[in-house]
Amino acid sequence: MTEMAFGTVPVRAGEPVLPKWWRTIDKWALGSILILFGLGMLLGLAASVPLAERNGLEPFYYVKRQAVFGALSLGVMLAISMLDPRQIRRLGVAGFALAFVAVMLLPVLGTDFGKGAVRWYSFGVASIQPSEFLKPGFVIISAWFMAAADEVGGPPGRLYSFLLAVIIVVALALQPDFGQASLVLFAWSVMYFVAGAPIALLSAIGALTVAGGFFAYNFSEHFARRINGFLSTDVDPRTQIGYATNAIQEGGFFGVGVGQGSVKWSLPDAHTDFIIAVAAEEYGLILVLCIIALYATVVIRSLLRLMRERDPFTRLAGAGLACAFGVQAIINMGVAVRLLPAKGMTLPFVSYGGSSVIASGIAVGMLLALTRTRPQGQISDILARRGR
């Protein structure tokens, strides 16, 4: 009767949010991210002091600032990681629409801070680089399209996502921001690969790339000089790369000591693009290897967990986010050790940068949400196979 009078007692359909989250989240990846963030703060103590000094601020101004943004970013990350894939998809699509409009409006409303590329919106105290937020949104929406294409009678989602990728790459290249453009292209390629790109097409693209590179090398003097400069064993010591190389060598295995490094004073981008050089100089190879191991843990654990994922959207979106995250770290560190040609790219969570760290928080939060353990119906799989 009570029930008839007051309605049913609300019964929780599943277990409570927090315990479920704790049970299903990838704790190794989460731990790695938190440690990376901590290391970023530690390195910021060393690397951002010269910047503060140059700008006439108190020495640890940027560290404090980064701590505030970092806390915000971690909060966002944890909140997002509690969502389920469906919510992630909605959030991603909405975020994508917002960021896409913002990127498209950049030429009108954006500012270049005197750096020659219009990438930022200035809001007085802080500035926002919308392309950082566009990336995770793009991964989500592309994954959605591609997953839809798998349905019987679904839309040609791969084509849609490809067109979207082309539009974004062109818009970014026009800023110009080739770094972000290549990341978007890379993320799309990874998703397309995982979604089942035909091997013939992949080989054709590979062959075309090799042929194009060969052609460009032989017929474009500019390109050839860039490549030769990159391949040559000597490096001009007055370039950023030269300083970075020297810093890594100076650091050796155990570093020159906390705060003893000198490279941060000569490199204008020591706190962002070349923070790994600061790490190598002051803390040595040990810390660098730790950082690499942490990134590898996040990326590879996520990919391995996604292998068991049944839902195509979750699988694709997770793969795209993990690879974009990983490749950004690899490019940043690869540049410092001259494995890759110079390209401005931040080291996620470690480099200084407000919108960079928040965008990374959103992306990794989505990744953590997508890699959570879910019932995958392994038993029904087996049954189904037996039935066929």
Binding site: I248, I300, G326, I330
Partner: protein, 604 residues
């Protein structure tokens, strides 16, 4: 095979049972979707594994690379070679024995980046103290204006570098570059020419040849394909030095306004020494004359660019040709009664030599009338053809950028009268170098010799001439050549060039004294070009020397003497005396009976 979504038998069956056939289609659709998802999941599983492995490999690579960097000892960083876009290496130029004639020296250029300057005014003040030729106001204007880059000095010395460094302004910067250095100063200046900067960058500057062999071989000297190999010239630095020494002394002694000499290997045409006075220092090339006669500039190379009527030195060509054609022998008597009238033109001799002279004596005494009579027998066309074969009708093909400008001046109409005057060296202007090559042809048993400045085996270009015979072609027979040499030897032993008989070196040669043409028309009475063209030693001709003095006057006697025998010949004799030992020629012993009181002990 495609399975239909609506399998007909089952639909019919369902209809018969009264079921909804759409349910079958929906079930089929679901099964198919599950199958594709299953397939794509399995494929994705593999591909995700591939991605994981790739990422692992990438992270490992970065880590290993970091490790190898950390393990490497930090060494002095080397500048990236590929970033130097201006290729500044320029090959050295050396003489035939490898002694340096032109090389490169590291120096610095001084430039400023005004935006980086701390104290523009103070810096300008200090700079003016170091370089008094700089304009203070101009510097301040440059330093405080909108310019971001200002060249201050293109070449500064190490002391100046240190002084500027001590100013300590970060806006003052040094650009390393090489400069072209000619360590021997004036020596062989006309041959080397000079160099200047081409494209200039901050890190290096291009050096370009402006004249002489530097310009002619500019491409070769800058060609990285030669691998820094130096350009070896046929010159001999010590001989060049001795030649210039004697020539400048002789020029002063004979009050000449200019002088030139060419010393050439008779068999190969290799120029061992070549000088033109006045000369200049290629380290500091004077500016070319903008008006007036370019031949008044020290930059003018008289040996190559200067074309002169070279006078009686041409007589031997007429006589050689006549002997070659079988018209005369050395003993043939020629009518020398003067003056020789041709229309209203009269040809005189310096002295009256009587009614007749043998061909040898026509040469020995340098009879204009006798030569003119011999040329009459040859005829203008044949003479023109013969002189052409000797290379006297076109510029000497030597490896200097200026060589084509030494274009001979030919008569407008090669008439019989022109032929006769050309026979004794008037009416046709040639460069001393052309004359030397023609004499070398006679000395080389009548086989054509082409002049060259490049040592044997060097990067010499093949020469193609319009009239000139090919290198090594027989222009006169060896017998005729030997007879001509014998006549020239007689010129030295008992003729006009008696001062040229250097003991032991058996000099043969021919003098030439030509009145200088007056630009207003006609010839000057008191201005001559006096020339000695010689071969030594005559028994085995090794070297040809042509020495020319411009407007010499020997004032040692009672009246001024200008003939070559008194001016060019003594200077040439002194030259041979100086250079022959340097050339490694062994003097023939003089006959002992001319020495009083000394008896030579002979073994046999």
């Amino acid at each position: 095979m495609r399975t239909p979504l609506r399998p007909l038998p089952r639909i019919l069956d369902a209809r018969a049972k009264g079921e909804n056939p759409d349910a079958i289609e929906r079930e089929n659709r679901r099964l198919r979707g599950e199958a594709t998802r299953d397939k794509s999941r399995q494929r994705a599983e593999g591909r995700l594994l591939v991605m994981s492995v790739l990422f692992l490999a990438a992270f490992l690579t970065v880590g290993l690379r970091m490790g190898s960097f950390a393990a490497a000892r930090p060494e002095e960083p080397q500048t990236d070679a590929s970033s130097q876009q201006i290729y500044s290496q320029r090959a050295d130029i050396v003489d035939r024995k490898g002694r340096v004639l032109a090389t490169n020296l590291l120096t610095h250029a001084l430039y400023a980046q005004p935006p980086m300057m701390i104290d523009p005014t103070g810096t300008a003040d200090k700079l003016v103290k170091i370089f008094p030729d700089l304009d203070r106001d101009r510097l301040i204007k440059d330093f405080t204006g909108a310019r971001k880059f200002v060249w201050i000095k293109k070449r500064i010395s190490p002391e100046q570098l240190q002084a500027v460094h001590d100013i300590g302004d970060p806006g003052l910067l040094f650009g390393p570059r090489e400069m072209r250095l000619y360590p021997n100063g004036h020596l062989a200046s006309h041959i080397l020419g000079g160099a200047r900067y081409g494209t200039e960058g901050v890190n290096s500057a291009e050096i370009l040849g402006v004249a002489g062999i530097e310009r002619e071989y500019d491409k070769w000297l800058r060609d990285p394909a030669n691998g820094g190999k130096s350009l070896k010239l046929s010159l001999d630095l010590t001989v060049q030095s001795a030649l210039e020494d004697v020539l400048s002394g002789g020029m002063k002694l004979m009050n000449a306004k200019g002088a030139t000499a060419v010393l050439m290997k008779a068999r190969t045409g290799e120029i061992v020494a070549m000088a033109s006075l006045p000369d200049f220092d290629p380290n500091d090339r004077p500016a070319p004359l903008l008006k007036g006669d370019p031949s008044d500039s020290p930059l003018f190379n008289r040996a190559v660019q200067g074309v002169y009527e070279l006078g009686s030195t041409f007589k031997i060509f007429a006589v050689s040709q006549a002997m070659q054609m079988g018209l005369v022998t050395p003993e043939t008597m020629i009518d020398t009664k003067g003056p020789l009238r041709w229309g209203k033109f009269r040809i005189h001799d310096f002295h009256d030599y009587g009614k007749q002279l043998s061909v040898t004596d026509v040469i020995v005494h340098s009879s204009n009338i006798g030569t003119a009579r011999i040329v009459q027998k040859i005829g203008p066309e044949k003479q023109r053809e013969f002189l052409g074969k000797l290379g006297l009708l076109e510029p000497a093909p030597v490896e200097l950028i200026e060589a084509p400008t030494g274009r001979p001046i030919l008569p407008q109409n090669w008439s019989e009268l022109s032929a006769m005057t050309i026979g004794y060296g008037h009416g046709l202007s040639d460069s001393p170098l052309q004359l030397a090559a023609a004499y070398a042809t006679i000395a080389n048993d009548g086989k054509r010799v082409l002049p060259t400045l490049i040592a044997k085996g060097g990067p010499r270009e093949p020469v193609k001439q319009e009239f000139g015979a090919a290198e090594g072609a027989q222009v006169v027979s060896p017998e005729v050549a030997h007879k001509a040499l014998a006549m020239m030897r007689a010129v030295v032993t008992r003729g006009t060039a008696s001062y040229g008989d250097v003991p032991g070196y058996q000099v043969a040669g021919k003098t030439g004294t030509a009145d200088k043409p007056d630009p207003q028309g006609g010839y000057y009475n008191d201005k001559v070009i006096s020339t000695f063209a010689g071969v030594f030693p005559v028994t085995d001709p090794q070297y040809v020397l042509v020495l020319t003095l411009d407007e010499p006057t020997d004032t040692s006697g009672n009246e001024p003497r200008r003939t070559a025998g008194w001016t060019a010949v003594p200077v040439a004799a002194e030259t041979i005396r100086r250079v022959a030992p340097l050339l490694g020629l062994r003097p023939e012993p003089t006959t002992p009976d001319t020495l009083d009181g000394i008896r030579l002990v002979k073994k046999d």
